[in-house]
Symmetry: C2
Subunit: 202 residues, 2 copies
């Protein structure tokens, strides 16, 4: 295999979910691209890695020191939604239904992977609560073992702020999910957290 092809394949294989065959297919596609398009792909990777910053307020990815969400005065800064990672923030933003701000932890507590509370941006969150401007913290982290551990740790830390309301996002049956295929724990929660149908809606 030519060295240049071998190189690009090895580099592409460092990315998750890309094996030898996929890397080769991607390389052959890059070969068919305009040289300018290949440059632009190459440049975007380099610039992204070197120039992207973390918002000093919420730890979201940002082009600037403070991300556009945190600097948007039209958003409700008294409500903070705590998420694990930037992807989760983007998913919530895509709904267009949330008008508060976020706090990105940057992961969950995982002793197996050597990630402790100090590796997450929890102090930064506590600092924001100290200002006394926050009324509600919505915890939107996954229900994995690590997620639950993180939840309990957070709840513990949040006890220092008795005036702040703490909520977690609802667990239940997703729209479009078939009850037949939903796991028992989710069904149990969905039953326990059932909602009364408003008499007006009947």
């Amino acid at each position: 295999m030519p060295r240049l092809l071998d190189n690009v394949c090895s580099e592409l294989q460092r990315l998750p979910g890309i094996g030898r065959r996929t890397a080769l297919r991607l390389a052959m596609h890059i070969l068919k691209m305009d040289p300018e398009a290949a440059d632009s792909l190459s440049e975007s990777i380099k610039r992204f890695r070197h120039e992207i910053r973390y918002c000093a307020s919420c730890n979201n990815l940002s082009d600037t020191d403070i991300c556009p969400i945190c600097s948007d005065t039209r958003r409700d800064h008294s409500t903070i939604c705590v998420v694990e990672q930037v992807q989760d923030l983007l998913s919530i933003e895509n709904t267009g239904q949330y008008h508060g701000v976020y706090h990105v932890l940057g992961g969950v507590i995982s002793p197996m992977q050597g990630i402790g509370p100090s590796d997450l941006k929890i102090d930064l969150l506590a600092d924001k609560l100290l200002t006394g401007q926050v009324r509600e913290v919505i915890i939107a982290i996954s229900t994995s073992v690590e997620g639950e551990t993180t939840l309990f740790y957070l709840l513990n830390r949040l006890r220092a702020f008795p005036d702040v309301k703490v909520t977690t996002i609802a667990r239940g049956i997703g729209f479009g999910d078939e009850l037949e295929y939903v796991d028992e724990l989710t069904i149990t929660h969905a039953l326990l957290n059932r909602r009364e149908v408003d008499s007006g809606a009947r």
Copy 2:
């Protein structure tokens, strides 16, 4: 979404099989890489696109004017295996069983995609046959409609060289394939091309 993240995601999405979600996952992985590793990925794409060449003899990808296979004097230059694309050449090389040289067409005739015989490196193959050094041409192109069209076109062109033996790779049941799931055409060919078991092997 930050502009730098949006940029890298859009660029990654130009690659085949990479959608918005995968692009985002790749970008987040790039973010976790060492800056040097990201540079190296970026650089390898750029260099590959700009510096890779096509072998002047067989149209294989190469770092040099003539690829290492064509310049290897230990290989049998009287046997040429004709393949559609570089990936096919690599698959055959991986077997370690072929000692001849190759000729990469660079595609197959496809009127639907506007690819005619002149878009493929068929003249380059004919030029090599004119030297009178070639004794056998093995055609190893796919059995798709386009592949068969290309095969017939090639056979027609090769009539000009009656001294050159022309073969196609065997079609039959793959090792590990279950007869139950093999298509009828393949079974028909496998029956027609059945081989007598050597009396010594019985």
